[in-house]
């Protein structure tokens, strides 16, 4: 069995046990409740960010991008909810998640979405907020929108198939 130079699943699990996270998650309502909040967070995130992306691509023309952007804080709150609840899943069963190719892909796509978002705000957001309600934003902004939508749909798809994998140690890419 290879050793993991980065994560120590046994220690993470011990930490979750010590804090009572594992006991809560394994209680009858723990896991289902956290799943519910994970999905609600995802809905807020995809609602705010995904619809903004779709508008940049020309859906629902006439809706002002500047006004639509006011909903982004709901997306951020949803993202935070999903990250926190996702963290609870991972620390409760670290060996089932850390070495799971679906979760690895999901996290990689989230990283890509993050880089895409930073690039969007650094290089395109100003011109997007000046776009008229009936107009398309510049091509550069539309490319950011395509990448963002693809990433978040990919995140949803990967999340959905996490349970299809029962990871052995050899799915540890960094070991």
């Amino acid at each position: 069995m290879p050793t993991d130079p980065i994560f120590d699943p046994a220690a993470i699990q011990q930490w979750a046990n010590d804090l009572g996270i594992a006991a809560f998650m394994q209680s009858p309502w723990g896991w289902p409740l956290v799943e519910v909040f994970h999905f609600i967070g995802l809905c807020l995130l995809f609602g705010a960010v995904g619809m903004f992306d779709l508008r940049m691509l020309g859906v629902a023309r006439g809706v002002s991008l500047r006004q639509l952007h006011r909903l982004i804080p709901f997306g951020v709150a949803g993202f935070a909810t999903s990250v926190f609840t996702g963290f609870l899943f991972v620390v409760t069963a670290p060996d089932q998640y850390l070495y799971n190719p679906a979760l690895q892909t999901k996290l990689a796509l989230m990283g890509l979405a993050g880089v895409n978002m930073v690039m969007f705000y650094a290089t395109a957001a100003r011109r997007v907020s000046a776009t008229g309600p009936d107009d398309l934003p510049p091509m550069r902004a539309r490319l950011f929108a395509v990448v963002s939508l693809a990433c978040w749909l990919g995140v949803i798809a990967c999340g959905r198939v996490i349970t299809a994998f029962r990871p052995p140690w050899n799915w540890c890419l960094w070991c």
């Binding site: 896991w31 289902p32 999905f39 809905c43 807020l44 609602g47 809706v63 909903l71």
Partner: protein, 162 residues
């Protein structure tokens, strides 16, 4: 009732949904995509009518109703496929009725908002108190529908097959 559900389980389509290594997961993924589009667009319309991001473009939000339709079709088709694999699992679970009723009610509320509040918006961009109450209700129903959907996995009592 259970006899009918047991008969559905024997349809070639149902057997294929259960036995193909990919079919069930592909349907799950498209169900999630459909729900994301339906609920995502529904939440955006509800929040804006509720008063987040006030602006003269309110009536143009009807454009997102089309996104809801695309999402609904994806979710319903994939949902029927998932249902066919284990019909008794969902159809004997009251939580499934809660899911369907909440989502249907939320969608109808948004549709009625599109026909009333959003249509009146160019002349009167400030939704009435009544519209905002309906929007808050729709928002709650979207989230209850999603929550009930998630709880299906944990609340079924009958699976059958085998």
């Amino acid at each position: 009732m259970i006899g009918l559900l047991a008969a559905i389980e024997q349809w070639p389509l149902s057997i294929w949904m259960r036995e193909d290594p990919y079919a069930y997961f592909v349907a799950l993924i498209f169900h999630a995509f459909g729900m994301a589009l339906l609920v995502g667009a529904g939440i955006v319309i509800s929040l804006r009518v509720l008063g987040v991001g006030k602006g003269p473009d309110l009536h143009r939000l009807r454009g997102f109703v089309a996104v809801m339709w695309v999402g609904a079709v994806l979710a319903i088709v994939s949902g029927l496929l998932l249902l066919s694999a284990y019909p008794a699992k969902a159809l004997t679970n009251p939580v499934f009725a809660v899911k369907l009723a909440s989502l249907l009610a939320a969608a109808l509320l948004v549709r009625s908002m599109a026909a009333t509040t959003l249509s009146a918006a160019p002349r009167d961009p400030q939704p009435s108190a009544r519209s905002r109450v309906l929007a808050a209700l729709a928002l709650a129903l979207w989230l209850i529908g999603v929550a009930a959907g998630k709880l299906l996995l944990h609340t079924y009592t009958v699976l059958t097959v085998s």
